[in-house]
Symmetry: C2
Subunit: 348 residues, 2 copies
């Protein structure tokens, strides 16, 4: 019987934030690729685009005109998935046809007035302004009595369903805890009840000792490829201090958070020398007015690319019906990212 | 306060097969689309392609030559995600770094010798041969003592990561129950313990009474858009009789299953008059030698397209970080599919 080698042998890893497993097939990265290639995004965008509905001063589809904003800008989504209407319904009890009305608010956040300036190319001080706006939105939306969760996220790149390259993210605030949050909350809570500590604090301590999955570390944050990463170059930013949400961040922490966001996205752009697509988002305490000592602020980056700017990992058949699967080990991905330059390739 | 109308108001629906919720935003389908478009697949493929590693008589990347097969053909995947090696490992107990070696067998199943003949264009009798082969594989692989689950699936179309248009599917057989199966098994079991009946039998009875989500019904099977469908045109084939796996199917049932598979995939191709991409797969009883009275044979179809042959639904940012989300109601999708012709558009 051979002895287990995680760089050679198929294995499953457990994600303690979701309670689910993923399949790792380290030997499989040798597979040739004859399938679909993504078109690589044109990198020569203008600083201002008269047809862009996110550029300052331009008008949007509903006729409203954007302010002539100087740094960040937030407005209600013109095509919201959630509506701010209080809807009455009979309670339905059939366990096979359960539903509930859902109330919420969707917003769009422009990260910069420049049409062509994504996070990796911004100044750290400009990223701090995004964090300030996120914090204020989390507070403002979260304070409403019908908003129990505020999801802050970014879809970057056409391959992530983003229909406008102008740097922007979204906020979906709603009355229920979304499925993924409920899972993570349950896992964090179980751990907290048992150990009276934060799962992610304990995890981070061990990761810092091991070192092998760390990509960037600064005074207050760490960016790493989690042991249970699903996407080829998935990373997570974790705060060193145990706190639940944006509103608990000190000014020093905010600056360090902005710096590490820039740091990890520069690495991403440098990986294939392209504007690297991803979905990212913050997981933090719900705004249901309960104490949430179990929550520990973190941010996920889920990038689809696998081998080059045009070849992505497809989460399809087996992954949809069975289990998430990856071909390159998290340790190898972390090593590759760690060794990339810290200066953006366009500035070298 | 307005009264709930599921065709107007955002709401969440509960999937009793996974225990998870999805967000439905019926009003949102009016949203314009300026994002990525998929390239539409060339429909003029030859019947035989000398460069295709799945066509009869051709050689594969490992030098082996395919048999000159006449109907269906199965072989071990040349780039398997799982390996059939028995691997020893120390049991690891750290709850934050859990892993386990995974043993399994991956196979490729060619559905037809013709390079250009997909399921919707096949004769029902030819589809029966695919079902025969699946059944034999489920038996053969499932009988090995280290195989506890056999996942049969198909990735169809470049947009689903399929790298070869030759009609084929895959089988991933392995020692653990994949995450999605474990979830469904738990849900089916809970229901069975409580009610002493099959969840899907009870569900199907109600759906047949309601009618609004049914797409096709024949003597032994129903194809419907589930109440909790995630993908825009997601469907499920459910057997009317309560049985756990392919091996319990009568000959009549097999024929009816082949017919409904053809029926639903013809509807799919007719929807946008294109070779409709999807991932499909069978969910059936695990092969762990336990009795599984809770299991009820069914097949999922997860197609990504939303508005046309080139515009898909992106499950990204909010969906990855929060919860699956759809823009068109399952009832509307079912109605659209139901009203499509039963004859393939190429044959009209
Ligand atoms: O095995 P294939 O067809 O090469 O690969 C395809 O299906 C697999 C199983 O769903 C996925 O893991 C791959 O990402 C996908 O590209
Ligand atoms: O809101 P957008 O950018 O138009 O749309 C994009 O992000 C949303 C939130 O993740 C998704 O629901 C859409 O499928 C995607 O295309």
């Amino acid at each position: 019987m051979k002895t287990f080698d995680r760089n050679e042998h198929p294995h499953r890893r457990y994600n303690p934030l979701t309670g689910e497993w993923i399949l790792v097939s380290p030997h499989r990265s040798k597979r040739p690729w004859q399938g679909q290639k993504e078109s690589v995004t044109d990198s020569s965008l203008p600083q201002y685009d008269a047809t862009c509905y996110l550029c300052p001063g331009n008008s949007r589809s509903n006729g409203e005109r954007n302010e002539d904003y100087q740094d960040v800008y937030v407005f209600d989504n013109d095509f919201p998935a959630l509506l701010n209407d209080d809807i009455a319904t009979d309670i339905n009890t059939d366990p096979l046809f359960r539903f509930q009305p859902e109330r919420g608010i969707n917003r769009v956040v422009c990260f910069s007035p420049a049409h062509n300036l994504t996070i990796p190319e911004m100044e750290v001080s400009a990223i701090e302004k995004i964090i300030d706006l996120w914090t204020q939105q989390y507070l403002d939306l979260g304070n409403r009595d019908f908003i129990n969760h505020v999801q802050i996220f970014e879809n970057k790149g056409a391959v992530m369903g983003c229909s406008n390259p102008h740097p922007h993210g979204q906020i979906w605030a709603q009355s229920s805890l979304p499925t993924a949050i409920e899972k993570t909350q349950k896992q964090l809570e179980k751990y907290y009840q048992k150990n009276k500590t934060s799962l992610l604090k304990d995890y981070l301590e061990q990761e810092l000792k091991l070192g092998e999955r760390i990509v960037i570390e600064n005074a207050h944050f760490v960016a790493l490829v989690p042991f249970w990463a699903t996407w080829p170059y998935e990373t997570m930013i974790i705060s060193k201090r145990h706190f639940g949400s944006l509103i608990s961040m000190s000014n020093d922490e905010k600056r360090a958070y902005a710096a590490i966001m820039k740091g990890i996205t520069v690495k991403y752009d440098n990986l294939f020398e392209t504007s690297f697509p991803y979905s990212s988002g913050i997981h933090q305490a719900p705004t249901d007015k309960a104490a949430h000592p179990e929550w520990h602020f973190h941010m996920h980056f889920y990038p689809p690319l696998l081998r080059s700017a045009s070849v992505k990992k497809f989460m399809v058949g087996y992954e949809m019906l069975g289990e998430a699967q990856r071909d390159i080990t998290p340790e190898k991905s972390a090593e590759i990212l760690r060794q990339l330059p810290d200066i953006h390739y366009k500035k070298r």
